[in-house]
């Protein structure tokens, strides 16, 4: 109940700042269109729409990191958080309240990108729906990163951290090129981080290779749980004013 009241407030706070929101929807759509035009003049099929769409959607989720991180960071610096910390809400209420409003935004991003992809020649079948499910799970990873950043940093710092995060998470995701093409340390780092696994899970779901979804998705879920645990612990410390 309290969590849902807080979630509604956070939802309003995000959607009433439409510039970033439009950016988070529009940029992925634009990128998808550009790269699929590029594909028409390429010999190999990296930017084939069935390959491109899952990667771009996962990329669009990095905006969820920005939204949640900024909101939490702003609440912190405006001492709004302090005011509600004085209320009888629990840490769980806060975390849920920050996560829930981002899920419909993730869904909206998925829908916008999928419509664009269908328009660009993606064929619709049951695998598309499975991918939507997988993507929703993946979106939690990015929301979790946002909570973590927002808990640690101020809203101004979150902007800078986001710039690093968005680069790191996309270059290491295998959306624009396969990490194997570079190999070595780069590839090992990519394998250690969750981003390439997120894209792989989404691609596998779309291609109908359902068994291939399991391993990368488990890695993503593992990471998500880990990040949420860290974020919650830090948040609880913050609530008790310990840091």
């Amino acid at each position: 109940m309290k969590a849902s009241v807080f979630a509604i407030r956070n939802h309003k706070e995000i959607v009433r700042d439409p510039v970033t929101l439009i950016f988070g929807m529009g940029l992925p759509v634009l990128i998808m269109a550009l790269f699929s035009v590029m594909q028409k003049n390429m010999q190999f099929g990296l930017f084939e729409i069935s390959n491109l769409a899952p990667g771009v959607i996962v990329f669009s989720f990095s905006f969820l990191t920005l939204f949640s991180g900024m909101l939490l960071g702003k609440d912190k610096s405006s001492s709004f958080l302090m005011r509600i910390f004085a209320s009888p809400m629990s840490a769980g209420d806060y975390i849920l309240g920050y996560v829930l409003p981002l899920l419909p935004i993730a869904l909206l991003q998925i829908i916008f990108c999928l419509l664009t992809a269908l328009f660009l020649g993606l064929s619709f079948n049951i695998s598309v729906l499975l991918m939507v499910g997988v993507l929703i799970v993946i979106s939690l990873l990015y929301i979790g990163f946002g909570l973590l950043f927002g808990t640690i940093f101020t809203d101004k710092q979150v902007g800078g951290i986001f710039a690093i995060f968005v680069n790191l998470s996309t270059w290491l995701s295998g959306t624009w090129f396969e990490p194997e093409m570079i190999g070595g340390t780069f590839q090992s780092i990519a394998q250690l981080l969750p981003f390439v696994h997120a894209v792989n899970a989404a691609r596998a779901a779309l291609s109908g290779a359902y068994l291939d979804v399991c391993l990368p998705l488990s890695i993503v879920i593992g990471y998500t749980v880990f990040i949420f645990i860290i974020a919650t612990l830090l948040f609880k410390r913050k609530m008790r004013g310990l840091y």
Partner: protein, 241 residues
């Protein structure tokens, strides 16, 4: 007795910010906590609101310990923080409803309370304005009104009139004096006229310690001064320690 503070202490590393504070505040009393910048007023209030764990000591708020029964204690209190704290993209009305609801009010009840608060604080004409578009003084009014939404037994007001114009300040005084007797109010301020107008009792903090405690009359008598300002200056003089 609504507030019973027992040896409340806060250290940051070696620095003692609040030092063995002990005092009692009666139900319905209007208590002014004074002290110059960095005296430890906000830190004291933060500890009482469960925002900061005390290094030592405890406080009992309406029967609930802030150390051992924090959630129960939090239900009884509300705070208007020193920095204005409103949700910027929510309207005035939405901000108030939000506060009511996170303290467990139904929507209908919250609406009733919100209307009452908006009337009281002269916010009704701005009820659909986003909080971030309000002027500083109006934002303050909203911030204080939000603290009232939970019908707290104890209300902490940390410099509530900062940045308010003369009339708004007087309006707030009027509102606060209406609450006198019902709600226990702990106020910090640097405006001594405010204290003379409202406070039943005054505590003067200096470097984390309570230097004096009593009615304005008592303090003037004890220090043989003729105004609260003189008393304040005397008790916060650096070499008077």
């Amino acid at each position: 007795m609504t507030i019973e503070i027992k040896g409340l202490t806060k250290h940051y590393k070696e620095i003692v910010v609040v030092d063995q504070l002990s005092l009692c505040i009666e139900k319905g009393e209007f208590f002014a906590l004074l002290g110059q910048n960095a005296a430890g007023k906000t830190t004291t209030i933060k500890m009482l609101c469960g925002l900061l764990p005390p290094t030592d000591g405890d406080a009992i708020l309406d029967g609930e310990s802030i150390v051992y029964h924090q959630v129960a204690a939090k239900k009884k209190i509300n705070i208007s923080p020193q920095e204005t704290a409103v949700a910027p993209n929510l309207t005035v009305l939405e901000n108030l409803l939000f506060m009511g609801q996170i303290y467990g009010c139904s929507k209908i009840e919250a609406k009733k309370r919100a209307n009452a608060q908006m009337n009281l604080f002269g916010l009704t004409p701005r009820q659909s304005s986003k909080a971030k578009t309000l002027s500083g003084g109006y934002m303050r009014r909203l911030s204080v009104a939000m603290a009232m939404m939970s019908n707290p037994k104890i209300l902490f007001l940390d410099e509530p009139t900062l940045g308010m114009d003369v009339r708004a300040r007087r309006d707030l005084w009027k509102i606060l004096s209406q609450l006198k007797g019902e709600v226990t109010i702990v106020l910090t301020t640097h405006y001594l006229e405010e204290v003379e107008m409202l406070a039943d009792r005054v505590g003067i903090m200096h470097r984390g310690k309570m230097r004096a405690l009593g009615t304005i009359q008592q303090l003037m008598h004890e220090t043989k001064k003729h105004s609260l300002e003189e008393v304040f200056l005397e008790l916060t003089e650096e070499d008077s320690l």
